[in-house]
């Protein structure tokens, strides 16, 4: 059973049709990649899923429940986390604190209880710290725990973004161009990391331009052009698909 399901999704910005009647499903425990030329509507799809935009038409369901009209913070608590194309860390917080913020929606709320009950507060803080450390260890960032996020190198900032998203305990992880700006070594590490995350049982939905990464790790690929799905299949099928080649290279590429 597919966990994340998009049905007849259409998104219009004024007269611009950004996403046109899109059907999509992120298969359970698999890596689905969404590719397409610039401006094809890939990030818009992410923004629709995470409640940044509301679809003009269509429904988005997750585990059988609709996500339409939910605010971003509710979508996260349903189990969908994402990272951004441009890094958005909390720069004046430490690495550990960044991850702790991610744990926010998975711990008991109760501000008043926390303020009045010091032992409870201490216990909860300890629990949050332990969980955050576990996530950092998974990503190999534990030695940077007390550094400010802004002081990390680029590759580690990307890792920290993923760590923070994982801290929200998602069932599905949306990665928006995680390899952007990475060198080949960093990209290779990232590929291993994404596979390692998938193997913990998460579904991964990836938007990426780096074809080596996309072809190397995806179980399925969906190709978008002008907001429409033009192809769908395994990496091998997509590589040999005429329509896809045309969309990327233009019809002049045809022999």
């Amino acid at each position: 059973m597919a966990e994340l399901l998009l049905k007849n999704i259409t998104m219009k910005f004024g007269g611009l049709l950004a996403v046109d009647n899109l059907d999509l499903e992120v298969p359970s425990g698999k890596i689905l990649s969404l590719i397409g030329p610039n401006g094809a509507g890939k990030t818009t799809v992410f923004n629709l899923i995470t409640g940044v935009y509301k679809p003009t038409e269509g429904t988005i369901t997750y585990n059988g429940k609709t996500l339409n009209g939910l605010h971003s913070n509710k979508v996260v608590s349903r189990g969908i986390a994402r990272t951004f194309q441009n890094i958005r860390l909390f720069n004046s917080m430490t690495v550990l604190e960044n991850v702790q913020v991610g744990l926010h929606c998975r711990t008991k709320s109760g501000a008043i209880r926390a303020l009045l009950n010091t032992p409870f507060l201490v216990r909860e803080e300890k629990e949050i710290e332990d969980k955050a450390m576990a996530v950092l260890e998974f990503l190999g960032l534990e030695s940077f725990r007390n550094d400010y996020a802004s002081n990390l190198d680029y590759g580690n900032q990307r890792r920290l973004e993923i760590a923070r998203a994982l801290a929200t305990k998602p069932g599905t992880l949306l990665l928006d161009e995680p390899a952007a700006g990475m060198n080949p070594k960093e990209t290779a590490d990232l590929m291993d990391l994404i596979l390692k995350i998938r193997d913990t049982g998460l579904d991964i939905f990836l938007v990426e331009h780096d074809m080596r990464l996309v072809m190397g790790i995806s179980d399925m690929i969906t190709v978008l052009d002008y907001g429409q799905k033009i192809a769908e299949g395994t990496p091998k099928e997509i590589q040999n698909n005429e329509t896809v080649i045309e969309a990327y290279l233009g019809s002049g590429g045809k022999k």
Partner: protein, 306 residues
């Protein structure tokens, strides 16, 4: 009085005044940090807190509770006064600022100015135009360090102010909600994407900031013995200068800025003609901004904005 005693006396005065400015400045800086708005109605929060504290205090005194349970009375005066203003702060946010959150910055600032005038006039109508006296609960009792006379009232207020600032610091740095607040201040869309309820976080900020302002208002009332509907203005202007000077948006900056303004003002009044003391506040602020435009502990405005 010899020089040392005189200096000790002035030092206590400066710490006292500095704590008041710091508490008020915190309200500005927290609200600015989270929604980039200068809450011009903050001075009225300070005054409203003072009135609310006065009303509670007079009520308690009437039934003789203040004499029998002094500490508990103070807890009630500050607790209820701050709680009242916290509710007032959230209401203002809901009515005057929240609907304008996506409007231009100018619209929200005008709304804040309007709120300030509205509240100030409301207090004038309900509490009158003349000074209202605070019952002298602390009296003139105190102790001496050499020739410097320090009243218990001063000591009480300074301790309370520092306790409040310390609690705020612990709250912001090590509680979940405090971290959510810092995350929201740095990047709202991202905070939302991590499951933080941004609206709730903003509401909490509008409880804490005005609550601290109210505490400062009650302290001023208790110490100087009177409150007036428009007394918030000069404190507001100076605390605003303190927040700017410390780096608006920075919590330690507001504490530091408040202390600096308090010390400068007391030092000036101690040695130079005191009618010029209000000017010095702004001279110091202008000097700091000239040398470091982001304020002493502030970050440059372009950082963390996406």
């Amino acid at each position: 009085m010899d020089t040392t005693s005189f200096l000790i006396q002035q030092l206590i005065n400066a710490i006292f005044l500095g704590s008041i400015f710091s508490l008020i400045a915190l309200g500005y800086t927290m609200v600015y940090g989270i929604i980039q708005l200068i809450n011009f109605a903050h001075g009225e929060m300070f005054t409203a807190g003072s009135f609310a504290g006065l009303i509670v205090l007079m009520g308690l005194q009437k039934v003789g509770f203040v004499d029998s349970h002094f500490i508990l009375s103070m807890v009630l005066v500050f607790g209820l006064g701050m709680a009242y203003v916290a509710v007032l702060g959230v209401s203002i946010e809901q009515v005057a600022y929240k609907p304008l959150r996506n409007a231009s910055r100018l619209a929200a600032i005008l709304s804040a100015l309007g709120m300030s005038i509205f509240l100030s006039n409301g207090m004038m109508l309900s509490q009158g135009v003349s000074d209202r006296g605070f019952p002298p609960v602390f009296g003139w009792d105190g102790f001496r360090i050499m020739d410097a006379k320090i009243s218990y009232g001063q000591v009480f207020i300074i301790i309370l102010a520092f306790a409040l600032m310390y609690s705020l610091w612990i709250f912001v740095t090590s509680t979940k909600l405090g971290k959510a607040m810092r995350a929201t201040a740095q990047n709202k869309p991202m905070a939302r994407m991590l499951g933080i309820n941004v609206d709730k976080t903003i509401r909490v900020t509008f409880m804490i900031g005005p609550g601290l302002g109210a505490a400062a208002g009650i302290m001023v009332g208790l110490y100087y013995g009177s409150v007036r509907f428009d007394m918030g203005f000069i404190y507001m202007i100076k605390a605003f200068a303190a927040a700017i000077l410390g780096g608006i948006g920075s919590i330690p900056g507001a504490m530091l800025g408040g202390m600096i303004i308090g010390f400068v003002e007391v030092a000036w009044s101690a040695f130079l003609p005191s009618e010029w003391k209000d000017v010095t506040t702004f001279v110091v602020m202008i000097l700091v901004l000239y040398l470091k435009p982001s304020g002493l502990l502030g970050q440059s405005a372009t950082e963390d904005k996406v």
